[in-house]
């Protein structure tokens, strides 16, 4: 009961802030709504016993990615929308299309079935979860883990390479 | 059942024929000097003619089997083999190809001044591909050569052609390509239906289902009809002929458009006899339409080359008429007429080339009365004109006469219309000759025309000889092809017997 109410709260805020994110004229407001969204998604993660990911969600998404957005939006001073229209001219149709797709996906999900659906909500995984996650990450998913490190390096190279001004420029 | 008789000469004659020009072309790529390029090309083409001598000498006209056969595995995963061989149907084309290539190289001696080396490379590649088409006994191999021909021909038209060459080249390329690719799908369908083989001889013996035959025939027809070209797929031909350089026109008229008809004989008829019979009425009608339409259009032309191009449409109508008469006279007539047309139209384009090189115009109105100035040329043109008309004693007469005979046996009305076509043909050709050669010299530029030089005479002479040789002694040609055409008729008959109604029709047609 409480859990469901909490979920309902999270869901409503998530959807609300998502809509606000994509509809604000000022990107800075979008970013702030996005922040709200991330907090509530982290909440959903906690509901699902994924505390570690809730923290990661905040540390990386909110603390690194989003702040980067905010920095760039502010630095570039693009917060003042100069044009009257914020969306392209097809937006009503595309939105309608989105609503249809969403309904469709929802219906499909309701009609379809997932094997885990009857699973219990109690945690049967031993320990805190973080440790197990770590063990899986460093054993079973070692290859992806290594790739991820290379990926981050590439991201780093790219960001430095592209954004850095040459001395002569 | 046809067999591939292995080559017993001790040297791979057909492979040499196919690959010597390519080797020559590769050598040419390294040559910078234009004169040297010409000579190398000429020597290579003469070697090819030389190779035709053992080919014809060792040919056994008593059998319908494929001779000088070579076979080896090429792409084993797809069961594709390098299988080549010639029979009575294809051998003459191989010989004609070598001859016309040599002539083309000779007439281009001075006409082509720009990028000579590339020109000769293209000619030699073209020769290889053409011989390959006639010799291939594997459908895949055939298709490779068939398509590969497009590249040099496209370049010949596009690079060395007339003012409107770009349009003509692209049109030529696209028309033929669209037809060919449809054939490719049909080839694949044939391959899978027949259990995974591209072997032409094996496919000849395979009995395809009736419905399958219908659409596969249609797809092959798309490729061959464009190439022939049959009405209404002919519109690329006048453009291509007009814009192509003389050598290109000679090859185009002499060999390339024969390939369509050759395809009918080699593939469509033996593979799909039921469909052939099914489509025969339509094709016969298209053929007579082409005869009349081509002739009619020829009357209206003011451009020398365009007139010949339309006459080709008309003449090729005769060829398809003969082939689809589906009796031995028709077939043999059609075959012979193909050779004839190759010779006479090749010669006509040569004639155009010779005069164009001097006057730089192809408009008939710009000529007139040149007979007095260039007597040798006028004589040459006269002989060719008469051959084209089909005057008895020339090759044209034999071919057309045999075809009409075949058509008559098939259905009288076609023979009647075709005869009308002959009369029209005589009309426009003679009118052409009159406009070019007779009367007074109207164009002051023509006052100082020089006559054909030795090189041109040498180039033209073989053709003139052939005109009379075939006209006077056609049996030599008939003998070569007879066994094969007979076998083709019998083969169709035997294969079509699976369907009683059709068998009866074949029986009626072939007079059995």
């Amino acid at each position: 009961m409480i859990n469901q109410l909490v979920f309902a709260y999270f869901a409503v805020v998530i959807l609300f802030s998502a809509i606000m994110t994509i509809s604000r004229r000022n990107p800075i407001h979008s970013v702030l709504f996005m922040l709200l969204l991330f907090f509530h998604i982290a909440g959903v993660f906690v509901l699902l016993n994924a505390e570690f990911l809730a923290a990661v969600q905040l540390i990386v998404y909110a603390g690194a990615i989003l702040i980067l957005y905010l920095f760039v939006v502010m630095l570039l001073q693009v917060d003042r929308e100069t044009k009257s229209s914020r969306a392209n001219r097809f937006w009503p149709w595309l939105t309608a299309f989105g609503v249809i797709i969403a309904t469709e996906i929802a219906l499909l999900v309701l009609r379809g079935s997932f094997p885990g659906e009857n699973g219990v909500m109690m945690r049967t995984m031993p320990g805190t979860g973080v440790k197990e996650l770590g063990i899986e990450l460093y054993s079973k998913y070692l290859v992806p883990f290594e790739i991820a490190s290379v990926l981050l390096l590439v991201g780093l190279i790219g960001a430095v390479l592209l954004a850095k001004k040459d001395a002569k420029e | 059942m046809l067999e591939l008789m292995p080559n017993t000469l001790g040297y791979p004659l057909l492979s040499l024929l196919i690959f010597i020009p390519i080797a020559g072309a590769i050598v040419l790529l390294a040559v910078r000097n234009a004169a040297a390029a010409r000579w190398i090309a000429l020597v290579v083409s003469l070697v090819e003619i030389g190779l035709c001598i053992p080919l014809l000498a060792n040919f056994n006209s008593g059998t319908a089997n494929m001779q000088f056969g070579e076979s080896m595995s090429w792409i084993s995963d797809w069961n594709i083999n390098y299988r080549i061989g010639v029979d009575g149907i294809s051998i003459l084309f191989v010989a004609l190809t070598t001859l016309l290539t040599t002539i083309s190289i000779m007439v281009s001696w001075t006409a082509v001044q720009d990028r000579v080396r590339e020109f000769m490379v293209a000619m030699l590649f073209l020769e290889s591909a053409m011989i390959g088409v006639f010799a291939a006994l594997d459908l895949f191999l055939f298709y490779i050569f068939w398509e590969a021909m497009l590249i040099p021909m496209y370049l010949l038209i596009g690079v060395w052609g007339g003012p409107n060459r770009l349009y003509a080249a692209v049109k030529f390329f696209l028309y033929t390509l669209v037809g060919s690719v449809l054939m490719l799908v049909a080839i694949l369908a044939v391959y899978f239906t027949a259990g995974g083989t591209f072997d032409v001889l094996a496919l000849m013996n395979y009995k395809f289902g009736h419905d399958f035959q219908l659409w596969a025939f249609a797809a092959f027809f798309a490729a061959f009809a464009v190439k022939v070209p049959m009405f209404p797929f002919h519109t690329w031909l006048p453009d291509a002929h007009v814009e192509a350089p003389t050598a290109g026109s000679i090859i185009l008229a002499g060999i390339l458009i024969k390939m369509g008809a050759y395809g009918f004989l080699r593939f469509s008829l033996p593979f799909f006899p039921d469909a052939t019979i099914f489509f025969t009425p339509a094709i016969m009608i298209l053929s007579v339409v082409a005869i009349i339409y081509g002739a009619y259009m020829a009357f209206a032309q003011t451009d020398f080359k365009k007139l010949i191009a339309y006459s080709s449409v008309s003449h090729m109508g005769f060829v398809t008429l003969g082939i689809f008469a589906l009796n031995s006279q028709g077939l043999e007539g059609g075959l012979l007429q193909m050779i004839n047309h190759g010779v006479s139209t090749g010669a006509l384009f040569l004639a155009v080339g010779v005069i164009y090189e001097r006057t730089h115009t192809r408009l008939l109105a710009d000529y007139g009365g040149i007979a007095a100035k260039v007597p040798v040329y006028a004589t040459f043109l006269m002989i060719i004109t008469l051959s084209s008309i089909g005057l008895p004693g020339t090759n044209g007469f034999i071919g057309e006469f045999t075809i009409i005979l075949g058509a008559f046996k098939h259905k009288v009305i076609y023979a009647v219309i075709a005869s009308l076509g002959i009369i029209l043909g005589a009309g426009y050709m003679l009118w052409l000759y009159q406009r070019v050669a007779f009367g007074k010299v109207t164009n002051p530029h023509n006052e100082h025309l020089s006559d054909m030089n030795l090189r041109e005479v040498v180039a033209a002479l073989p053709l003139v000889i052939l005109v009379f040789a075939i006209g006077l002694y056609p049996n030599a040609a008939f003998q070569v092809m007879h066994a094969s055409t007979e076998h083709l008729i019998q083969h169709m008959q035997a294969k079509a017997q699976t369907l009683p109604a059709v068998a009866q029709a074949v029986g009626a047609l072939t007079g059995h």
Binding site: G112, A148, L162 | Y143, A148, L174, L188
Partner: protein, 495 residues
Amino acid sequence: MPNSLHDFFQQLGPMYPEFLVIAVALIALVADLVVPRGQKHLLGWLGLIGLAAAAALTLSLAADHAGNTQTAFFNGTFLFDPFSVFFKMVFYLSCSLGILLSMKYLSVEDIHRGEYYSLMLFATSGMMLMASAGDLITLYLGLELMALSIYILAGFMRGDGRSNEAGIKYLLLGAFSSGIMLYGMSLLYGLSGTTNLNGIMTFLQSADLTNPVIFLAMVMLIVSFGFKVAAVPFHMWVPDVYEGAPTSVTAFMSAGPKVAGFAVLLRVFVHALAPLQGHVSAILAVIAVLTMAVGNIMAISQTNIKRMLAYSSIAHAGYALVGLAAATANKAMMVDGSASVMLYVLIYTVMNMGAFGVVIMLRKSGSRGEEIADFAGLGKTNKAAAFLMLIFMFSLTGIPPLAGFMGKFYIFKSAVQAGMIWLAILGVLFSAISAYFYLRVIMVMWMYDPKQEFSLLRSPALALALAIAVTAVIVIGVAPSSVLEIARASVLGLM
């Protein structure tokens, strides 16, 4: 402890080529600090040596594993099989050609930086991981590693707005498609409880296929991979990105990532989603037709050669999709259909990169040389370049005896074999249409008079790249047997 370490290295064995490529990339990155400006091409050669060593390593590993169709490592996240070996060789090839094409070009564009080569190698390692992925996670990360490197490469000309635009457009659409792909993957995971491809196949074999969520996941995966290989209607980004990116990057981008996309498509749809075969095939067939149609028809009206080649690459993705549709049609077609796609992407790589090589030759200071009209009269003044372009164009058209024909032939052969004759007919017709715009390039080169003095970009590296490409085009065209056999044998890894 030593024992487990030994086991660990034992297990690491099959990944040595990936490690090697990444290591070379890192070395190049560090070496960049000491290599002086103007000598950066040394890093390119370093990369080439690395790629050659990786290729040798891959082949020796393949020899070690000869006989095994598929060997899984690291709990199935990494697969070593002939299939991945084949694709890795194609990636080495495309990266090597890419590096060779870049060396001189980068100097002309004044963007000769060491990071370029590192990024190329990183992208290649990403592709290699994609080909070897046995798990959705590996697959996703490999894909992102590749994509991220290429976003950067596309925007590599920092001072040029067009390049920046290309980079950001590519990134936006790439990230968008990744989002869709992830959602599909998440559904797949929810359904099967695993991200392992073999596990997913096992699940689907016993699953209730009327479950609509399975199809939702399938459609999302098709959509997202459609983006990656630039299939219609997910192709909008291609022309802009190809035009804006540095030409050498465009050359690489048109081959490598697309090939990697097909590797993944094969792995996922032919192998993991095998129980859904018929449905996948139907959707792919429709996409293939649209892709061929849009690619070929839009290419006709292009005046910029890079845009034209962009649309042409869309069209070629369409042909490869025909092969994929055949491969997924039924069980019997898996080998031939997949092999046809593999052969095709290999051939496409060499001929397309060759064509871009000639485009690069035209780039010189003062002129971009990207308009088709810029080629006017090239055949008069620079016969060798024009001749190469001629061969590549005819090969792209699919005229025998060049490799392009063999590729298309196998594709259409598979389609006919799978009973999709209509698809084959549409395919050949579109490929006939494609002749029009390829011919135009030839026409402009050979049949127009030169408007300008050509001073072509020349360098030994460029010449080497073109020589490799043209040799491959001709040799595969004339004697496709061995490559074909390798492709067919490599498919077995998929099963």
